[in-house]
Symmetry: D2
Subunit: 373 residues, 4 copies
């Protein structure tokens, strides 16, 4: 069972309570979107604030962003910056599925469970077609039989139109390149386009250590939602279309959904700074390291179980309820999720960010160690 | 795996091939919508074709239909006749869920799997939230935990808005009244409205032998889609709203979806004739009897297994693939469905109708007996 | 100002009040949808009610309908029968315009003013872009400048996607073939597809005396909504696609909007009977003749003015309010419309049908003559 | 005729080309969204970038913003910050009109002509019902007759649901308070809610010199779209709901349209800084002054005509085409609009911003003076 405890912490932590020079311990592990903006990105906003610039994306920052993406991904691509991950996902999917299409995805996918119907809204009513899995990574056999079922129904059933894969997954795991290729090949063979929800793309990339191209178009991905907001941006995600034919009409899709910024230079400048000098990879690697540190610490705790591999920046643990409450009493903030059937204890999620520090992780582990069941 | 074999039969059977007085054997068990219109209903159309009548539902047939429904269901209700079951379901659901709502239903539900996104279209993007079951009848525990999950997510998740129950279910089973009450009580407590997909309502009613009121508003149903098309009508289903407050704006919903008939008398006249003199119950009982005859015959076959109870007019059987092909070769038409995991053989569905005759059923059983594996 | 007086008449007229053999005078001139079904069409329903037929359009009546349309229109075309004109129009338009498209039409068009947002619903939000006219017939110059305005706006404005022409128009006038060609040529040059709302197509055809091909594809029409309901059918209109490429996905559009009839043979059989033996043309010619008789009679009345040419089966007249009230007091039913600015009197509309008789028209004229201002 | 010349200028002007200390002349009068962010707002972003903050609007900046709005508008109100004016307008309207509603607005309204169908998208298909006017300010008589027409049509026509007024209008004019009250009273009497598109609200306020309360809820406005992006913000507009009952479900509307920022503090902080210390009013007043300077200069030019009063920060002029081309050749950037029928010359629009300087205006006027016809 999920609990919406975002508002549960007593106050924003804007200043050091002890008045000293040390920053206070960060106790909020709710998500990677509770943290700060990387200083390089704020600086880029100030640098972009000089004189006039054509509105609505006709500016030079957007042009440079497109060039930088081509360089990073070793491919020509059309890019569309938007302010949120939900917008990036839903807009991308709307280009892949007609209103009478089915979008196949893992049952746990954010687009299926946690976006309040945004994909249905933007696509004009397409069906999310969920496929169950053990750890957020879809099995090829189940994908194949779902596609076969839909296709056999003819024109009275939704047309299987798109496959959406989440990398890293909602359970903190990461698809291997082989697994990605297996799924996308199956999809393409059946005429589906492939979307990747990369809200934590950088974390997955850092885990696999491969190139951005390897994990996207070389692996059969047609459109990527590349998330920067969770990894240091103020508010910026990027739709990257490797299949250029899908980009037609995207400007009107974006305009009519209110996602076209008049002063788009300030959206593109964020993403440009994030992709320059490998800031995005440094931020992702750091968050992953902090998650690893936390996972190792939890694994040492006798009462904790880690149901999933920690491969990105999300750590899941099953803990006795009393320990969970003890952590909360100590001021730590994190998400409770539905425990798998048959599991005793409480399933919790900790997310680390680009600005999580070792002492923050250690403070949580110490608080846990100090809590008696 | 489902196969779209609707078009597979060689030709329509409009006349007796032997030129004799006997009607030919009916070999099409694909669905209860391949059959004929009850003569009483055709006659009612002719009787309604006299002189002028106000358009768009202001006619006297519609008024009499509303009165007859009140009588049959022992309750005041608003009724909205439409031509198809998909329209009845999707329009009804659009009155129960906002675009950001979730509609909880059995995973097998027609609205979830077989309406090409109609509920999503009419609701403006609501999410169907499927709950797995063994035989099409939802377990209360799983409903409760789905509602709890959604509610815990707060305003960033779809709002649990409606429960939709299919009676009889897609697997030919029928909820008991106690089961219905258990589910609707749970739904109402959590603030959800309750819809019943009654495409085969008459068949379920005939099975339970209870009153229409018992199986609807007394059991907690707010809105019913009452299907006549599958049971003798030309093309007519009826939205019955027991919760009168939901009826506001229904006329505009119907108009803007193209479902308002100018000459509505011809829609209402069908339903009136169907509900008069218990034609609807006679049709349903007969179809159930034919299904029972078929089920008993199949159960006697050594190679056949019936995975579900036959409680309405749908019979499911697992047969060796060679026998299935033998039936098809003999000219019989029916649906293949995905076999449950671990089951050896082919899952097929036979549907009987108000105009299926004993000799039609027996001919199928004989053909099966004569087919060697 | 329009008044919704559909329900104003005291009762349906189902039987002769005097018990004699003569049918009573028909006093309802509200619309051509208050009348009866042609006997040939009812007979066709009965003839189609023989044995099984594959569902959802795989039946032989639908195949014969397609063949008959090809013959009548001298062209290959894809046909999609639906039960209402609103559905035919909105479904057709949804194939011509994306959600971010603009559909240019006369300001008076039914799709713009009287369908409760159906085109917006089916297209997923396309904009109707109204163009003013004097009598329902669009001027080419105004169409050209509307297209130019929209095109100049670039990707932040709706894309001009379709032109919709109503033939006969909402003011009872009929485009000449030359006028149609002028408008469709302009549209095609700008990349727009052309739709014709032919709710009263037969009436326009009867007026022009040309061939169906001349008034459609030879005149640049890509998709036609062909209305039978207003001209003798029970409930049947037909989408005729001359541009075959637009037909892709139409089955799923129809299914997900609830407009796919399970027993489609009963929809196709109506249209087939209507198109056979020129029933459709006979019905239209008769309605036009009755409208002409009425128009000539009104023109002779010293207090009446006819603001538009009566070219189809709709007669508009400006009458002193006292005369209008006198007609209503005498039991006649018709529509009041907004009078043009500067006009003294009340604008009313009388519509004749395939079953309007000379004595019905004469009775109205006599009642008018007998009413003192 | 509108021309999309946003991309026409040769390059962004990011630095002084002469390397000197003087900033170059700003030649871009295309819109008030081509300019810079007020330094106070950029500073506020940096100040907000300290430590953790709860996501999705549960932060303290958003709370303070709500308090500040209550103070500025002298009323309790629910506020919803979003990144664009299109989102603010379309989301606000979606709370006022059902999918089968009509939204009455001036024919020139941005929501009607220049948002690529965003209101249709967010409302699920509501109809924009345009009312013509001479200068963007709707006449009460025409509003009354449009409402009457729609209401008379009954349930087969769109329900008149909302009135949307643009203040300042698209033609640079400003409604008086009396005019606003006349229109909103009429709307409320007929059961419509009232929306104000305040993309240039500050400019109108500065012109009237009244209080924000006077121009909104005291004048009958239920919901305001308050635009900051055009007046110094990076990307931030605010939905202000004075009718608190309309705010229900707004969070889900915002989430499912992708407009809920995870790091909402950075949206609220912009608006807070804009509303603090009267920055918003200073910015608006300055832009108005620059527009006035430009209008006075143009009025002195013998070949120029100003068709509308310059009451905000938009100046419209009719100029001989050769002069227009001369200005363009001199590097000035502005919008061409469709000239009113019968007018000789080219209609152009110049927009001034918070960062337009007197020397920028004077340079344009000088260029014009130096251009020979």
């Amino acid at each position: 069972m999920e609990q919406n405890t975002d508002g549960a912490q007593p106050h924003d932590r804007q200043s050091s309570p002890d008045g000293g020079s040390a920053e206070p311990i960060r106790t909020n592990f709710m998500s990677d979107n509770v943290g700060t903006v990387s200083p390089e990105i704020l600086a880029a906003l100030a640098q972009a604030n000089v004189g006039e610039a054509p509105a609505h994306g006709a500016d030079s920052w957007t042009r440079r962003l497109e060039a930088r993406v081509a360089e990073v991904f070793e491919a020509e691509a059309r890019v569309f910056p938007v302010a949120t991950g939900t917008a990036a996902n839903a807009l991308a999917l709307s280009a892949l599925s007609p209103p009478w299409g089915a979008i196949l995805c893992d049952e746990s996918a954010h687009i299926n469970r946690r976006e309040c119907g945004a994909p249905e809204f933007f696509t004009g009513g397409a069906k999310l077609w969920p496929i169950p899995s053990a750890d957020g990574r879809m099995e090829a056999g189940l994908l194949a039989s779902a596609v076969a079922d839909l296709s056999a129904g003819g024109a009275r059933l939704s047309r299987p139109a798109a496959l959406s894969l989440t990398q890293a997954t909602e359970w903190g795991t990461v698809y291997t390149l082989e697994h990605l290729v297996e799924l996308t090949a199956l999809a393409h063979e059946a005429g589906l386009s492939v979307h990747m929800d990369g809200a934590r793309f950088g974390n997955a990339l850092a885990h696999l250590g491969c190139s951005p191209a390897d994990m996207t178009w070389r692996a059969g991905v047609d459109v990527l939602s590349l998330g920067a907001t969770k990894s240091g941006a103020l508010s910026a995600d990027l739709i990257v279309m490797f299949d250029l034919s899908l980009a037609e009409d995207m400007e009107r899709r974006i305009k009519r959904s209110g996602h076209l910024w008049a002063k788009q230079r300030f959206l593109s400048a964020q993403l440009l700074a994030w992709l320059e000098n490998d800031l995005w990879l440094r931020n992702a690697r750091h968050a992953n390291e902090m998650a690893g540190r936390l996972a190792r610490g939890l694994a040492r705790h006798p009462a904790a179980t880690l149901p999933f591999d920690t491969q990105g920046n999300e750590v899941f643990a099953v803990l006795p309820e009393l320990l969970v409450e003890g952590l909360e009493a100590a001021g730590f903030v994190f998400l409770r999720r539905t425990a798998p059937p048959g599991v005793t204890g409480t399933l919790v999620r900790f997310v680390t960010g680009h600005d999580t520090r070792p002492q923050d992780v250690d403070a949580l582990l110490e608080a846990l160690a100090g809590t008696t069941e």
